[in-house]
Each structure stands twice: as C-alpha cells, then as structure tokens.
C-alpha cells in the first residue's frame, strides 16, 4: 500500500517490508485460469503507473504506451514462472522496466546500466552556504538564502502540479524511474530495489538526486521560497 507522507512528523518512520498479499495471489490464480476479469483488474490498477514508469525511458507517451502493451504480453507469457518471491507488482514492473529499457535504448541512445548517471552537483548550490573560511558558521545557510516553508495552497495549484510534472520529466531515466515508483506510486524502497534491480544504496542515491533536483526546480518558482537561482 502507498505510504502517506506526514509533513510535520518529527521522526521519519521506516516502511514495513512489502507482503505478498492474499488478494494478489487469488488474482494470479484467476489470471492463470484465463479469467478476463482478473486481467481487467490488473490493467485498471497498474496501467497508469506502468506508463509513468516506462516513460522514464521513452521519448514520448505514445511509445511508453506501446512499451506497456508489449510488457503485458511478457507478463502473461511469464505468468506461470512467477513464484511469489516478491510482490506480484514488483515482478510485473520489472518486466515493464526491462521492456522500456530495451526499447528506450533503441529509440534514443543507450543508457549505461552501471553508471548512476552523470556526475551531479550538490543538492543546493554551494553559494547558499557560508564558505569554509567562515570562522563560526562555515557550511551553514547564508543569511537570506535559507529555505522557508512553501504555502500548502500554492503547492496544490494546477500550475505547481504542471511544474512538478515538467521537473520529473527532465530527470535522467534512472532517477526518474526511482522517483516515479517511490514518490508518485508510494512504493517502499525494498520493492523498488526488487523491481529495478538496484542495491538499496544505489536506489537511495538516485532518489536523493531526483528529489533534490525536483525540489530545486520547484523552489525557483514557489512564493516564499529561498532566492531564485
């Protein structure tokens, strides 16, 4: 289940490990038996998320939709091989991610699987912090550049949501995949690692870079945020 985000909770809670739900097992059984309604349920539930995931690797939404269609066939053909060692959706989304990567590599350019993508700068520009020579407050916020909370009502506006979507679309593919599953879909890190074949640590590095960039992109636009840069 998606985790809810509390803005003001003093302590972050660790998510519980994802269970293989009984409900998904029964869907799977029905699917293996060729029941159309079971397939329709899965499509209804996951199609949109799958397209968002595939879009991380494809040049357009239309191609992402084709990829997902192809992935569904892969899922159906592989359904007897699913052994339940991970949640059903983690297994299905792995097929989507792999299909999208293959297709993306053909469509645009090859993405190096090993690299965690281009070497990135810091999450916040260095000039927002006091320099190392500062006798007392080196590495702390420069006065006037420290962040202030964003107004919640602006955050929910249509413009902000559009802006957020743009920021996500500009992320490099691997960062975009991780942020899509973790933050849009609300998956646990364990499940994302399972789906994308990432180590816990690499997953977190990708997520950190993605979130930092998206936050920075929104910051230049939100009222009451730190100075534009």
């Amino acid at each position: 289940m998606p985790q809810s985000v509390s803005l003001d909770a003093p302590f972050a809670e660790a998510p519980p490990p994802p269970p293989v739900s009984a409900e998904e097992w029964s869907l799977l059984e029905r699917l293996r038996a060729g029941e159309e309604s079971a397939f329709a349920t899965l499509v209804e539930r996951y199609q949109r998320s799958m397209i968002r995931l595939a879009a991380a690797h494809t040049p357009s939404r239309a191609v992402a939709e084709e990829v997902v269609q192809e992935a569904w066939i892969g899922i159906l053909n592989g359904i007897d091989g699913f052994e339940g060692r991970c949640p059903l959706r983690a297994w299905m989304f792995r097929i989507v991610a792999n299909t999208a990567k293959l297709r993306g590599a053909r469509e645009v350019r090859s993405t190096p699987f090993s690299a965690l993508e281009d070497d990135e700068g810091p999450s916040v520009s260095a000039d927002s912090f006091r320099p190392a020579e500062d006798p007392r407050w080196a590495g702390h916020w420069v006065w006037g550049k420290s962040p202030t909370p964003w107004p919640d009502e602006q955050l929910t506006s249509r413009e902000t949501m559009g802006r957020l979507r743009e920021q996500l679309e500009q992320l490099p593919p691997r960062q975009r995949e991780v942020m899509t599953l973790r933050d849009i879909e609300g998956w646990s890190s364990a499940e994302v690692c399972e789906s994308l074949g990432l180590s816990e640590e690499n997953q977190r590095v990708l997520l950190h870079r993605a979130r930092s960039k998206v936050r920075k992109g929104l910051a230049g636009y939100m009222a009451g945020s730190e100075a534009r840069r």
Binding site: L7, A14, G34, F39, L164, D183, I184, E200, R215
Partner: protein, 87 residues
Amino acid sequence: MSNLRPMDITCKEVVELITEYLDDALSLEERTRFEQHLVTCPGCMAYLRQVRQTIQASRRLTEESLPSGVKEELLDAFREWRKRRIG
C-alpha cells in the same frame, strides 16, 4: 571560541542526508545529530518540509484517468493470449 562542537553537522551536510534520514537509513548517532541540528535550525527544518511537500505533491500525480480505448486493446490482446494458451 567556536560555538560548534566537532560532532555537529552543517546545513550543507543536512541537505545531503535528507533522503537517508527519511528512509531511516542513518545510524543512531547520525540520526541524533541530524535531529539536534534540525531543532535549532529553521532553515533546515523548512528544507526538510519542502522535500516532504515535494513528495506529497508527487503522490497527487497519480490522479489521472485511464485513456479510453487502451483497456479495450489490452483485453483483445488478453483474449489472443488465452486462445493460444488454452488452444
């Protein structure tokens, strides 16, 4: 004399530790230092809130409807698959 004890962390470090903090991946000691910093630093508290707001807003991107026609096409593909499977 400096106000900073050697164990203290800076704002610059806090922004790079946020994701580990939110995933509960910091050691107990790092976590304690992180939280000690937060309670005395409105800038970092606001930064943490902005990151959480970013995550919360991202969750709302799921609210879109399935384009019509897509499901029908997939159901056709399913029927094809079933025909091949059952024979």
